[in-house]
Amino acid sequence: MKTIKVTLDYKSSDDSLSGKVADRARMSIPFPLQVLDLQGAVLAEGAVDSRQSVNINCDVHADVNQLLVRLLWPTGGTVTQVAEFGGKKVSEVVFSDNNVGPESWAKWSVSRRSSATSSHARKPIKELSPSLGKFKNVWVRLWRHEPSEGWHILSDLPCTQSEESDSLKQFDLELGRASYLLQLGGATMPFTFVSLPGGGPCRVLLTPNVVTDSKSLPLRIVVSGFRPEAEMLAEFLSRDSLQAARSLMADGKASKTVSPWNERDSMSAIVGAYMCLRTGNSLWTGAQGHKFEGFLSRNSWSADAALVGCVAQLREGLKKKADVVEVLDLLKASHQRGVPVFEEAHRLISEATTLLQSLYSISPDEQSKQVPLPNSLNEYKGVLAERQKLAAARAWTGLSFSFFGSTPDNPSPIKLKGAAPLIEDSWQQSGASRTASKGLMFSGSEGVSSLAGIPRVRSRKKSGFTYLKDL
C-alpha cells in the first residue's frame, strides 16, 4: 500500500470567489482527482480542496516508485503531477494555481471554461483568449418572475461590482428571492436566456467561446451563486461526467453540503437531489420518503424542486391511480414557479413530459387498463405543452438552465439574432393585469430573423437593456 498526500494550493482561485464578503471566507472550490499507474489505470479516486490536504491510499506493490495524480476540471481539462516515492511508502504532491489564468479576479472560473491541459504543475495552463471586442454590442437584459404576475423586465441590472479585461467581463448581482433570467442577444449572439440563482449574490462571467461543438454558443457564460461544491457537481453533471461527479461526492465535506437533506442551503440541496436521480438513488421510498417530503416543503418556491418531486414519483411508480394528479400538480407547480436554475432540469422535463404525454396518447378503449385521466385534462395538457416548448428550446451554457427565445413565455428552438426586441408592457400602459400578452417588435437591424404576424402596437415602451460595453 502506498499513500499520496495531495494538497491543493488554489487559494487565489478561492479568494477570487470569496472576495471581501466575510461569509464567503470559508469557500473553497473542490476538485475530483484520480491516481493512475504507469499504464494509465485508475487506482484510486477522491476529491480535494484548498482547506485541507487529503491522503489517498493506493493498493500497489512496494516496488512501485511513481504514480500519477490527475486533477479533473469540468471542462475535461486536466492537471497532472507525478508522485515520486523513492522507495518509501508515502509521497506528496501539491497542485498550485499560480500559473492559472492572468486575471486574478476570474481564477474561480478557469476550470469551468478552459479545457487546457497541463501535464506538469510548473507549466502554465495555456488558454486561447480571444478578444471580447466583437461582442461589445451584445445586449443584456434581466427578467424576474412573480408567481402571480409572470415575467417582467428589470429596468436596471442590480450590479454590485464588475471587472473586465480584453477577453473577460464579470459582474456581480444582488438578486431577490425569485426566479431570474439573464437574456443576452446581438448580431452574433442568439437570443439566449440563462437562469440565475435568486435569493442572494450571483456572479456572471462572459468570455468568447473557443470550444466549437454541437451546442456551444459564441459567448461562454459562467454563473456562480457562490456555492462551489454544488456548482462543481452541477458542472460535471451538465457534461455527463458521472465518474468525476461520483469522485467529488466521495469527499465527506461535499457529500454533506450537496445533499437533498441540506436544510440551510436550498441550491445545494437541489443539486444533491439531481445527483441522486442521476445515479439512480431513490429519493421517495422508505426512510427517505419522509425526508423527501421535507425537501419539497422547504423548497416550495423552487421550480427545480417541484420537477425533482415529479420525476422522483414517476420513477418510483404510482402507488395508486389518483397519484397521477399529484405528479401533474408538481409539473404544473414547476411551471408556475418560473424556470429551474440548473441545466439538469432539462433532462427531467424531457423525462416527465415524455412519460406523462402517454396519458393523452392512448386510445379510449385502452384507457381503462391504464391510469384514468384527470377531469381537468386541458389544464394539464397546456402545462405539458409549455414544458415541451421549453425543452425544445434548450440551450447549453454549463450548469445553468438555458433556452432560446424572444421572451421567457415564448421559448423557441429558432435562434433569433439582432437588436434587443422592444417589449410593450401592456400592464404599464393600461393598468390591466400584468399577465396580458406582450406585443413584440424588433428595433430593426440587418440580419434579424423576423417574427411574422406579430401586430404592430401604437405606443411602445422601450424596455431596459444594457450593452456589454456599457456594463
Partner: protein, 396 residues
Amino acid sequence: MTTVYLRDVQEVGTHVLIVGVGSYPYLKGGASADPESKPTNMGQLTSASVSAKAVLDWFLRPLNEPDWKVGFHNPAAPLGSVEALISATTGPVTVTAPDSSAHAGGTEVVLESATLVHVRAALVRWLSRLNSVPDSTGIVYFCGHGVATTTLFLYCEDVLESAELPYANIFSLDATIWNLGKCAKSSHLHFWIDACRGEDPELLVREQKPPGLLDVNLMKSTVQQSCSVLYATGPGKQAFAKRGGESRFTTALLKALSGFSGSKSGNGGWCVQAHELAMSVKTLLIQQSQNKPTPQHCEVRESGVGVPFLYLKAPSQVALTLELEPEAKRPVGQIRVDALDMSMQDVHMCEVGIYTKHVPSGVYRLEARATDDSFAQTVLNFEVLSPPNYSRIFSV
C-alpha cells in the same frame, strides 16, 4: 428472420438489437413514393444498411472466426443474442449466421425489413431475453432517418405508408428509452443512435407526437441500473455519410470499439465503459470532420451506475503522431518514444517523415533531439497517452 444469434442459456448476457433503415419506399426516390405528397424532403439512405451491416459483422465475426482479435468480447456478460433488421436500397440483406440455437453455423439468413411492426417485435424479444436474467446488458444500434422536436423520433421503413396517418410508423426514441427503464429489470442499457437530430417543422406544425415502441405504465417503477445514449450528432444537427459507404459516426464507433477506447481496470484487464466509448467516438468524429465543411460532434447522455460492456484482449490503443518542425531540422532530428512501464521503446529518425504508430495506452516519455546537438532537446517526461489518439508537433 431477425434473430441471427441466440445462446439459449440462463446466465447474465449481452443482448443486441441492430436496426438499419436505408430503404424508405414511401419517401422521395422510393418505389412507392407519392410525388404529390410533400411532408418531407427526406429520401433514401445508401449508407444506413452498410453501416448497420458493419456493426452486425463486428458482433458476429468473433463467433465465426474465433482467432479474430477485435470484436465483441465480454466474459462477464457474453453475447446472448443478436436481433437484426436491415432495409437496404439494394434489396434484402443476407448474413452468415454463427452456430447457435437460432441457426446452424454457416446458415445464410435473410434479414427482415425494418418496418415498425418488425422493429417493435424484435425489441420485445430483445427485452424478454434481457429480463430473463437480471444484470444483463442490452445494446441497441439504430441507423436511419431521425428528426427532433422536443424529443428524437426515428423513422422506420414504412413511414408515410398511409396518407391519412403519415407519421404512424415513426417512434419516439426518448419515450422508448424511458419506458424501457421501467421494464428492463436491473439491466445496463446502451443506445447508439446514428441519425440526424434536425428539426422537422411538419411534425411541429401537425403537433404529432408519435409514441415509443412500448406502452407506458406509470404504475411501474424504474428498474434499470444504468443507461447510456450515444447520439451521432448534436441537438438540431445533421449526421453525415459518404454515399454507399459507412457513416462517419459508425466508422468512428467501430474504430473506438476495435481497441481505440477503454482503460485498464483495477483487476488488470482492459475494458470499455460507456463514457470512455463516448470520449473516443467524439475525438474520432472531430478528426474525421477536420477540413470538411460539415462538422459533426456526437453527444452522450448517461445515468445510473454502469459497468464495462466490452473487454479487450490487449491494451487499448492510441494512434500516436509526432512531428518535428521546422522541416529543415528533420535530417538531424530524432524522436524517442519510451513507455514508462518499459513495454516499448522506439527511436525514429525524422528525415524519413512523421512518426505514426499505434501504441498501447499508458504513460510515456517523449523526446525530440538533434543527432548533432544543433538544437536543444525537448523532453516530456510523463505524457499520458489515452485512446483514441495523441499528436504533438515538436517545434525546435
